[in-house]
């Protein structure tokens, strides 16, 4: 046997990995990405500046915030990996174990836990979910007991009582509630809107109340159930939703309670107490302080912009930044909000657009190589720009809808849970593959959650903004009192909705 020196590699195995961009269509020529796990989206200004530096050195000065509060860098070369991992180690970061694509049902890890980005500072917060998120993250990272699950496992923790973490698309969601004067969590389980079997599912409320001190054990026990009982025969059947679909929720709760050694209290109250994505500038529970949520339209930042934001966090906040699950960034603990807003405007960060700029999401389809131009983020910018010219921002905000754009059928940006979902696909036209989009309507999470329906297929990209405009004009003319866009869409047949996409009837 010949020994090869691997100590420097071994210390990173299980803590760091690279993901894979590209296939022949990828126009960016990026082969690998790095998904920096930022637990709960909490990051210091110093860490943010160091990530900006990594982006400058390895990623053409470019970074993007993901919908699980991670930061992704592209154009990463394998031969630079150890150097990058060393820097991340010093910063205290790790990565998800993405880049797997193993054929079998193996090597699944616990992904970055999505946590309310204003934990500890939101007015009227039910309970601060940050400590639980941190404790679970510390348990799972690099832990060999949880590095070989049938598939990945996704958690969310919302302490503010709203659906800001998109609880319903997680394998296990903990949402803070009140029961008879006591605070705790209620659970939702089995969410995943990807294509693996049994198909897209929204997480279901389990009707239980978990005291804060019990929540860690409940979360770990649930992960162990996924690990020990999840399907190992077929990768398509290896997500937690398949197990729950087969067992039923009653059996799952019995097994969970068996592991915990106690019966969980019941809960039949509301899951979400309010609707909020924490957009804009909001007063904190700490008197005189505000948090400033900056919309990033696709979560993309240059290195210089990252440094500017880090500096603003130091100058106007307390040096903290928080990444949100809708790819935006928050500077908390701000006193001089008006001055900060002026400085942000001067740096190209405007908070004067419609709420769409905060709430909508698009995938990085230009990197994964499964799509052609116009890519998801281009389409989104075009649509928002068009809508903001056609309607007042106040009216768009009042309509309160979300647009999610995914470049391909992988659905990475969860088109199924948006009021207006755009799902890209390549179609052959005149012998060439061109990018088109299916339009899905009526999806959403939170109160009255639902999966969107496909209303029109293979729409050329340049027609999308007009169709969305026509739909909104029909909605404004024909909605009932207090009816949301989601409710309006779900009240009509697919055929009727298709007619609304194609004409205002004038």
């Amino acid at each position: 046997m010949t020994e090869i020196s691997t100590t420097d590699l071994e210390r990173f195995i299980g803590w760091y990995s690279l993901g894979r961009d590209s296939n022949p269509l990828n126009p960016t020529k990026s082969l690998h990405f790095l998904r920096i796990k930022v637990p709960g989206g909490f990051i210091t200004s110093e860490q943010f500046r160091h990530v900006a530096d990594l982006a400058k050195t390895y990623d053409r000065s470019y970074a993007e915030i993901s919908d699980r509060q991670d930061i992704q860098l592209h154009w990463i070369k394998s031969e630079d990996a150890l150097q990058i991992f060393s820097v991340m180690d010093k910063l205290g970061f790790t990565t998800d174990m993405c880049g797997q694509s193993f054929s079998g049902a193996r090597y699944g890890d616990a992904r970055n836990i999505v946590c309310c980005p204003v934990s500890g500072i939101e007015k009227g917060e039910v309970l601060n979910g940050y400590p639980l998120m941190k404790k679970l993250t510390d348990l799972f990272i690099g832990n060999p007991d949880f590095m070989d699950m049938p598939r990945k496992f996704k958690f969310s923790i919302s302490g503010c009582g709203s659906d800001c973490t998109r609880a319903e698309i997680n394998d296990l969601a903990l949402v803070a509630v009140r029961k008879e004067g006591e605070v705790g969590f209620t659970l939702l389980a089995g969410g995943s809107i990807g294509v693996s079997l049994p198909g897209p599912r929204l997480a279901k409320p389990l009707g239980v109340f978990v005291k804060p001190e019990e929540a860690f054990d409940v979360a770990v026990a649930t992960t162990e159930i996924h690990r020990d009982y999840g399907n190992r025969e077929s990768k398509a059947k290896a997500r937690f939703k398949w197990l729950l679909d087969n067992w039923g929720f009653k059996k799952f709760l019995n097994v969970l309670e068996g592991k915990l050694g106690r019966t969980l209290e019941s809960y039949d109250g509301p899951v979400f107490l309010k609707h909020s994505g924490h957009e804009g500038v909001q007063p904190q529970s700490q008197e005189g302080y505000y948090y400033v949520n900056i919309p990033l339209m696709g979560g993309r930042l240059s290195s210089d912009e990252m440094v500017s934001l880090a500096n603003f966090a130091d100058e106007y906040g307390n040096g903290e930044l928080r990444l949100t699950a809708t790819q935006n960034i928050i500077i908390p603990n701000v006193k001089e909000k008006e001055t900060l807003l002026k400085r942000l405007e001067g740096t190209g960060f405007s908070l004067n657009g419609s709420k769409l700029q905060w709430t909508s999401m698009e995938c990085a389809s230009d990197f994964c190589g499964k799509t052609k131009s116009p890519h998801a983020k281009e389409i989104f910018r075009e649509i928002v720009s068009h809508l903001e010219k056609q309607f007042d921002n106040e009216l768009l905000d009042e309509m309160g809808f979300r647009i999610h754009v995914s470049g391909c059928p992988n659905n990475c940006c969860a088109n199924l849970i948006a009021d207006i979902g755009l799902a890209g696909k390549l179609v052959r036209k005149n012998g060439e593959k061109t990018q088109s989009y299916d339009i899905l309507l009526g999806g959403g999470v939170g109160k009255n959650s639902s999966l969107g329906r496909i209303v029109e297929m293979k729409v050329p990209a340049n027609r999308l903004k007009h169709k969305v405009e026509f739909l909104l004009r029909n909605y404004l003319k024909k909605r009932t009192q207090g009816e949301s866009l989601r409710e309006f869409c779900n009240r009509h047949t697919v055929e009727k909705l298709k007619s609304y996409l194609n004409s205002t009837g004038e």
């Binding site: 020994e3 090869i4 691997t6 195995i13 880049g99 694509s101 054929s103």
Partner: protein, 87 residues
Amino acid sequence: MEKKFNLQKIGEKRYSLDARGLVCPYPQLLAMRALGNLSSGDVLEVVLDNPPSVRDIPPVLKEKGYEVSEAERVEKATWKIVIQIKK
């Protein structure tokens, strides 16, 4: 852990490296590390089960001047890449 990453001699000037269970970029980094320990004319077989690495390793090593076979599927979810250090 160290045992697993040693090169097994499997024949005259022929070695095997087991990189199964490793995610990107480790199979490639280990393969490079292993090749650095071998001599001209030696052959290295890398056994791995991570599909992105299966796609990445051949072009990267070809660019570095090695003779590389296309990945051969040896089991349902396992591949072998054969690399020779040119004489």
